[in-house]
Each structure stands twice: as C-alpha cells, then as structure tokens.
C-alpha cells in the first residue's frame, strides 16, 4: 500500500471516528462544536484518485482482484429503453414502476435495491400492456423470426420464442426454458387471438433473466472468473447505451469476438459511435450534478415573477441539449465546467434575458464568456442548488466540495438549532451569512463551503443573472481552500477555470463515473489502480468522457467476475 493510500485510509478512519463521536455526544453542543471544528479545520479529508506508477501496471504481481460484482437490476432508465428496443414500447412506460432506490447520488447502486409486491405488480402490469400492444401489430411480431407466429405454424412460434428469448434474456434459452415457454403458450393460447404469444412475451419480461442481469459463475468462488461473451456483451451494452445488446453484439458474443481485448474494444467503439450513447452520458451527468429535483422544483413566485410551471422543464431540456452536444463534440471536463454556450428556446431565452435564438425549439447560443461557465451557470444547476426564496452559497459550495472534489464537508451536528438568515431585502446574501464565519462553531465547516458558494452570487435562486443583491451590488468574491487549486475567487467563471484544471476534480469525476458504471462504491485501497486509470482517461492529452468509458471497459473489474463476498 502506497503512502498516499495509507494516508487516505487513516484520514477516513479519523473522519469516521469524529462523526460517530459527534453523534454519541450530540447532547453536548460544546463537545460537538470542538469535534466538528477539528474535523473541518484539518483540511479536506480523504482525497479521491488513486495511486500510480508501477504498482498499477497490468502485469504487476499481486494485483488485487476486482471488487464485488453484485447482481444488477435494470433501472427505470434502462427498463424503458429495453422495452422500446424489444417490443417498440414508449420508454416512458417505466414511469409505472416504483422509483429506483438512490444512494451515492445514483439510481443503480445494487446495495440499495429492495423489492415488494408493488414492484412485482408493476412489472406484471407493464409487461402485460406492452406485450399486448406488441402482439397486436403484425409487422412487429413477424419481424422477430421472419414469419407471423400467429399464422398457425408451430415451428414459427417456436422460432419466435428462440429469437425473442435471445434478445430479451441476452443469451440463448436452454432446452428447459424453451419448454417452459412452450408450455405457457399452450396453457394460455386460443388460436387466432395472440393470447399465447403475448403471455410468453409478458412472462419473459418479468423473468429475472430480463429484469436482472445474472451472470454465470460459480457461487462461492474464491478467485475472479472470466465472463462469457454474453455477459460481457450485456455489461458493455448497458454501460455504453443503457440498453439491451443488439443483434450484432449478440453475434459477437456467440462467436467469441469479445473474449480478447481488441475484439471487446472494437465492439465498445461501435457502440460509442451510436448517437444514443449521449443518453447515458446525460443521465449520468444529471445524477452526478444532482439535477433530478428539477422535475418538481418550484420557486417563490412573489419574488421570482418570471418563474412559471414551464420553467423547470425548459431548464431540463436546456441541460439535456447541452450534454448531448458536448458528447457529440468535445466531451471534456472543461466543456462541462466552462463552455460559454448553452441551448435555449424563445421562452427560456426571455427568462434568462437573452436575445431570442433563430428558428424554433432549442438552439445553441453563445454566451458572454465573462459570465457563463458550462453547467455551473445553467438554470438546472443553479435553481436546484438554491432555496425557494433565496440563493444558497452553502448548497452551491457544498455541491462543489461533495460532488466535484469528492470531499464532502462533515454534516452539521444532527441536533443543530439553526438560526439561518431570514430574507431581509435590504441585506445582501453575504451579510446574512456572516454569522457562519463569525461564530467559530459554524466557521469550521462553513468556511469550506460558503466562500465557494459566494462565487455564484451573480446568479439568483432561479439561475438568472443579477448585478444587485438586496440593495447592494453583487459581491461574488470568495475562496477555494484545502484543494489542489486554492486561491481567492472572483465569480463563477474564475471558479470554473480552477475546477477544470484540477487533477482532484478529474479524479473525483472518475470516481463518480466508477460508482455509476459498476453500480457500487469503490473498494479502497484495492481499487486505487482502477480509479487512477479512469482519472488518467480524463486528464491525458485527448482525454474526455468517451475515453473514460473506454478505460472502464479495460478494467479487470469490468472484464472479469469478482469472487463473491459472503455476507
């Protein structure tokens, strides 16, 4: 274990001990205050990123085995797309499922799954609906096996089960499975109705082979095992496209082309060239940047008169278009953090006070580079990281620490009695938050967040530019401390430039991606090398998020199945 990794571990231990002490002593504010100040003034705590050099060379002996490989369940995002590909459903049918459990900010962390009768009922209802729609369309059902399975030809129906089963379960059905489906067909069919066919489709879509991503392996194995071609194809397709493997990829799996790295990377590159890969990138970025609350966001309309029911949806569309464009163009960290351009339609342009774009719908517009900085100055981010009636330097600063540097400040003591600023229109935000730094109890942690958040002060709680805050000119000066890009700040563009040049931010971005991509948290120090490889894919010359995806495919944790951890 390298010195850096050891330091990180020690730091983790120290942080945990402090927070558990703080909980135990929560009845004694003074003790809490001292501990919390201590925790925060000690610097940023654990840093992301990994070790480097020879330790991580692929051939290094004693390379730790990849971390766990929990059984993945299709998220709603993936389920909707899978049904679109398999049976032509509208992907929004996934809204009929209970929400995915969320932890670490992501919807696909396997440790958090739970299942209930409501889940099973929803899977049943959606499967029945999409199966009936699918079977009712002659062209669709005939396209599967090249013949109409309802025409009375038993061989055609059997072929349908074979082909559809392969696509739905991402591997060929074995003889028992084929027989079970034939029996279901017999039990439910009335000739000419399609009832048997839709029952088979509905059953396949509720099977664990579809809803989950089981991978063959030996239970209780003590060493990492290679994955077969179908399991690799499945991992790859969900990683890059968030969808089922297509026919070509299943062919690759059958022919063994994915078993060596060049074949696997060729397949990865083919999928990366699919424009739909942008959907996964946008979905990941939306969760990473904590933009999900936008869908139900509202603001105090007595203060923000331009905010309407349509504003959150327009902001979501703006960010979606921006991320899609970034993916297709230059998907670098720098683009996300500092691109002086965005996408608006006429209404959103009016909201922001920008000139209306040419044409209809959302159009790319250049912004003032002295004011604009990628996602950091888009309404989707600014409005979700603010209160309904005022900005929040705390929420914005905390976001930068927690999601961009991966060094979340310790939380406030749980029993904190807060006396935060009430909105006094005569006072600026900065004056109202002055207590955070005046009071040593608060200052220990808030000096890590507020001075970053102040840099956003030219943007109000809805994401609109402002020059006046209360009755005074905006003061957007602040500071970054405890990072690899420390220094005074003046405005969000200044902040963005620092973030874009920070190796720590790149390492954190890679860590966030790792969690999303593998559906679990990283195991340290065992996976320091994996994180280093991912981080390098972002920071190397020509590095970007496409390279990050490619580097993920190369990881041992991606290409092999980890030994099982006994509970």
């Amino acid at each position: 274990v390298s010195a850096a990794a050891r330091a990180r571990l020690l730091s983790d231990v120290r942080r945990k001990r402090v927070s558990s002490l703080a909980t135990a002593r929560s009845g004694f504010p003074l003790a809490v205050a001292l501990l919390v100040v201590g925790a925060c003034s000690g610097g940023g705590g654990a840093k992301p990123g990994g070790v480097g050099g020879d330790l991580c060379a692929a051939s290094a002996p004693g390379q730790p085995p990849p971390g766990t490989a929990p059984l993945r369940r299709l998220t709603r995002f993936e389920y909707g797309r899978a049904l679109a590909d398999l049976v032509g459903a509208d992907p929004s049918v996934s809204a009929g499922l209970p929400p995915d459990e969320e932890t670490l900010g992501f919807d696909d962390i396997a440790d958090a799954y739970s299942v209930s009768a409501l889940h099973a009922q929803s899977y049943l209802d959606v499967a029945e609906k999409v199966a009936a729609d699918f079977v009712s369309r002659a062209d669709q059902r005939a396209a599967v096996a090249g013949c109409d399975p309802l025409a009375g030809d038993a061989a055609c129906a059997a072929r349908f089960v074979t082909v559809f089963g392969l696509r739905a379960w991402r591997r060929p059905l074995d003889a028992d499975e084929q027989a079970a489906m034939a029996a279901l067909y017999q039990a439910t069919d009335t000739p000419g109705t399609g009832d048997g066919l839709s029952a088979v489709v509905a059953a396949m879509l509720q099977s664990p082979q579809f809803l989950y991503r089981p991978e063959p392996g030996t239970p209780g194995a003590m060493t990492a095992q290679p994955l077969d071609g179908y399991a690799l194809a499945t991992r790859l397709s969900f990683l890059v496209l968030g969808r089922q493997p297509d026919a070509a990829l299943l062919d690759d799996a059958a022919s063994g082309r994915l078993d060596d790295e060049s074949g696997l990377m060729a397949a990865a590159d083919r999928l990366l060239a699919d424009p739909r890969a942008a959907e996964v990138f946008a979905h990941f970025a939306t969760e990473w940047w904590e933009l999900e609350p936008l869908s139900t966001l509202d603001k105090d309309r007595s203060l923000y008169r331009l905010w309407t029911d349509g504003t959150p949806g327009a902001m979501a569309a703006e960010t979606q278009a921006f991320l899609t464009d970034a993916w297709q163009g230059t998907p670098t960290l720098r683009t996300l953090l500092s691109a002086p351009a965005t996408f608006v339609d006429a209404d959103l342009a009016a909201f922001y006070g920008l000139p209306a774009p040419p044409g209809t719908g959302f159009q790319r517009v250049a912004l003032d580079p002295a004011r604009a900085a990628g996602l950091l100055t888009q309404g989707a981010f600014l409005a979700t990281h603010a209160h309904a009636d005022q900005t929040s330097p705390v929420l914005r600063g905390k976001f930068v620490r927690a999601r961009l540097f991966c060094t979340p400040p310790p939380p406030p003591p749980p029993t904190l009695v807060v006396r935060p600023p009430t909105v006094d229109p005569r006072k600026s935000t900065r004056e109202r938050f002055a207590e955070h730094t005046a009071d040593p109890f608060c200052a220990g942690c808030h000096t890590q967040m507020d001075p970053i958040g102040f840099a956003f002060e030219h943007y109000d709680a809805t994401g609109r530019w402002r020059d006046v805050d209360g009755s005074q000119p905006v003061d957007a000066t602040g500071a970054l401390t405890g990072t690899d890009v420390d220094g005074p700040l003046d405005g969000v563009v200044d902040l963005a430039g620092r973030l874009a040049g920070s190796p720590e931010v790149a390492a954190c971005a890679a860590t966030q991606w790792f969690r999303y991509a593998l559906g679990r948290s990283e195991a340290l120090p065992a996976e320091s090398c994996a994180l280093s490889a991912l981080s390098a894919a972002l920071t190397a010359p020509g590095g970007d998020f496409r390279q990050l995806v490619r580097a993920t495919v190369r990881l041992p944790a991606f290409r092999t199945r980890a030994p099982e951890v006994q509970p």
């Binding site: 932890t103 009768a117 006396r419």
Partner: protein, 460 residues
C-alpha cells in the same frame, strides 16, 4: 344483521347490496383464498375471537414528519377532562374517539435521527448497516424487522385482496428516509403516491367487466407460475447476498398469485368505484389535493374490504414540503430546525402541525360516515395510529414522542382519554405491543426485545 357477508350461502344478498357497476363478479370468497388464510390464522388466533357476524377490524397508520412543538402539543387537564392543545384542536369534534398517548420514548438506531426515527417508528427495531449515508452517522440500510402494521396484517387480513395498502403523498426518493412500513427485515414497502395509479391497481375489480377479469386472472396465474419457476431456478445458482434479493422477489410474485386467486367480497353498500380527479401528484401546491384523494381512496378500500390494513404517509422524514396554501414559503424541514425562541418560525410550525391534525380529523370524519354493519361505523371498527419520526425537529429528540390513537378498534380501545406515561422511561415498543393486543393478537413483545417491556398498562 351484519352487512359483511362472507358466507357462501348468501350470494344473493351480497349481489343486491353491491353497488359497483360490475359487482356481480365480486361475490364469493374463493375456496383457494380461504384455504390460504386458515393455516396461519390458527397459530395467530386473536385473543378475543370476534363473532362471525361482527364487522372486521381495521388498522390504519398516519404519518406526518419532522417532529412537533412541545409547548403547542402538550395537553392540560386530566385523563378524561383534558383540554386539547393548539396543535390538536382540530380533533375537538372527535375527542370522544381519540386517545392521546404522551411520555413514551420512541426507539430507533443505526443511521441518523430522521432515518432511524422513521425506520424504528413502526418496526421497533434499528436499521441494518447499509448504503444510505445519513447526517453524522455511519451509513444505514433498511429496518431489521417487520413493522407493526404488517404484523397486524398477517393476523387480520383474512381473505382480502390486499394484505395491506400503503399510500403516500409526495413521498419522494426510494430510500430509508421515506419508508416506514416493512414486510420483513430489509423489505420496505414503497407507498403508492399516485392516486390515479391507486385507482387503476387497487380498484380494478370494481370497474372491470367480470368476464374480462376472470380471463385475465386465469392467464396471469399461468404467467406468474412460469415466472416464479424461473426465480426459483436462478436463485439456486446465486451466491448468498444475491439469492436473498431474488428470493424476496419470488415472495412478491407469490403474493400476486394469492391476490389473483382471491375474490373481492363486497358486502357494504357504501362501497363504490371511487372517482379520482386528475391532479399533478408531484407539484408542491397539490399536496393537500393529493392527500384528500388518497384519504378518500384509503377509506373506500376499507369500505370495500379490499384491505383491512392501510397507511397514509404524508411526505417523508426530512420533508421539505412548503405549506404555501397556509402562507408558508419555507421548507418544513428548514423550519423544523429553527430555535424555539424564533417566534415567527414557531408560529409556522404550529400551523403545519395543526394542518396535519386536521388531516387526521378529516380521515376520522370520512371513516365515521361509512356504516359498517351492526349499527357501527368504519371508524368504530378501525384503530388509527398517528405518529411522527421525531418528537422535536430542532433537537431530533424522541423523548415524549407524539402519538394519537383514534377509532374504536371494535371496542377494544377505551377512547376519549389523555394518558401520560411521562417519567417512566417507557419505550414506544410497548405501545406497538398494545396496538397488537387491541387488534386481538396475544403478543407480549414487539420489535427489538430489549426495547420492549410489555404492553402499556391502562390503555385498553
């Protein structure tokens, strides 16, 4: 004569009383349903067996979040001559039908105060270790035992369509801050928070042509049979952790199969296919409208005997609902951390908590309006628990947790009282045991055993 007919010899009576459009199908409890119910009911035989002509018992939980205000909640006066506090004043018309239980310490452990507050509130257990990182505490997972409503459902659900019905209003993300009801350890039950979807799934039998329904049920049984076999087959090939997940899924599939083989028996003329007005279920300002719809649906599900155990979860722990309809623009949780000497904030919190008391009053009024046979109303045969994950928002204290019991519990609960257990240091698990006893279960302990010293004295 009871309105509730489950006797196969009286189908005609059931038929004429059933109001739903396709009520003809909603007749007889299937033989399979009865056969399923019997084996466990014997082992859990209610302590006081109810006569067959008595209306069934029901149990309802109502949750509101973020603690309350001590001074504005505390009652004055004696056991029966109590004076309701400002927050509880909306219950004045129902004072004969409530019991205020004061002075218990709500237990919980693992994770932060909100997390283990809502997780321990109905389970009387602590949270397992898990992935949800709380505030100032190691990450926690789901509760480590079943919740009291599910224990009750196991005993009183009988051959109803739904073992229990979990409803919510803007319950937010799927995590352990938003789950209070647990089928078993690690098996949280997500509340349905879309009234339109409740209507579709819960009331299907009332608005579907009986022949269509029969065909669908037979077909879905075949499908689920095939699906269940696949879960069984795969489960055997997985390691222990993954197998637990898949086995839970299989259990859920089996529960659906039980629903399919259970006929809805409608005997109460008050049972009608409900109307659900369209509403934006997620918009902050629709919170009261969504809640009113969910309350109506809950009452109707009980009236139709679709289920006998239900819950209504208003928002979630750490709720940031903004009570704009009451002139409050700040989020509830933000307000809940304000100081007790911050008068404007305290006034707002009083408004919020009083509003929730009004929702309980409204639920009670609606239940009382439904005749339930033998001259009783639904409220007479229901036991309601109103609870909160905390006692105080700004300290996260759970000492003196705020509980209101309401409804007659079929005569088991002596209502119209204010009971203080203050100074005795009793855990709230004792209240949970008493709830089981009120529902006729003979249990003497519930939840974590060292958090329980037996039922509360003087309650029943």
């Amino acid at each position: 004569v009871s309105d509730h007919v489950s006797d196969e010899s009286m189908p005609a009576a059931a038929e004429t009383r059933a109001r739903p459009r396709f009520g003809r199908r909603a007749l007889l409890r299937g033989a399979a349903g009865a056969a399923v119910a019997l084996p466990w009911l014997e082992s859990l035989a209610p302590r006081r067996a109810r006569a067959s002509n008595q209306p069934p018992l029901r149990f309802v939980v109502m949750f509101s979040p973020n603690g309350t205000l001590n001074d504005q909640w505390m009652l004055t006066g004696g056991e029966t001559a109590f004076v309701l506090s400002p927050i509880l004043s909306p219950l004045e018309p129902h004072r004969a039908d409530i019991v205020i239980v004061q002075g218990l310490d709500q237990q919980g452990g693992g994770g932060d105060g909100h997390q283990n507050g809502i997780g321990g509130m109905l389970t009387g257990t602590s949270l397992n270790a898990g992935p949800f990182a709380g505030v100032g505490a190691p990450p926690a997972g789901w509760a480590s035992g079943p919740s009291v409503d599910q224990r009750i459902a196991q005993a009183i659900a009988g051959a109803t369509k739904l073992r229990s019905l979990e409803l919510g209003v803007q319950v937010g993300a799927a995590d352990n801050w938003g789950r209070m009801s647990y089928r078993a350890a690690n098996q949280p039950l997500p509340p349905l928070d879309d009234p339109a979807s409740v209507y579709d799934t819960v009331f299907t039998d009332l608005h579907t042509d009986p022949t269509v329904l029969a065909r669908r049920r037979s077909r879905q049984q075949s499908i689920l049979d095939t699906v269940g076999a696949e879960y069984t087959r795969l489960s055997g090939r997985l390691g222990a952790t993954d197998r637990q997940r898949l086995d839970a899924h299989l259990a859920a599939v089996r529960e659906l199969e039980t629903r399919l083989t259970t006929d809805l028996v409608v005997t109460n003329a008050a049972c009608k296919d409900p109307q659900v007005a369209p509403v934006d279920k997620d918009a902050n300002d629709s919170f009261p409208a969504v809640g009113a719809l969910q309350t109506d649906l809950l009452v109707m599900a009980l009236a139709c005997d679709i289920t006998r155990v239900a819950s209504l979860q208003w928002s979630r722990s750490v709720s940031q609902t903004r009570f704009t309809w009451a002139g409050i623009s700040e989020g509830h949780h933000d307000l809940s951390h304000k100081s007790d000497d911050d008068a404007p904030s305290v006034a707002k919190l009083q408004t919020i908590n009083t509003w929730y008391a009004q929702q309980l009053a409204s639920l009670m009024t609606k239940l009382a309006a439904v005749p339930d046979g033998n001259g009783t109303t639904l409220l007479d045969n229901t036991l309601i628990l109103w609870c909160n994950e905390l006692a105080r928002g700004n300290t996260h204290s759970r000492h003196d947790a705020p509980y209101v019991l309401a409804g007659g519990a079929g005569g088991a609960l002596r209502t119209g009282r204010y009971l203080s257990y203050e100074g005795q240091g009793l855990p709230h698990n004792n209240l949970l045991v008493s709830l089981l006893n009120a529902m006729g279960l003979p249990d003497t302990t519930f939840g974590k055993s060292d958090w329980c010293t037996g039922p509360l004295t003087g309650l029943l």
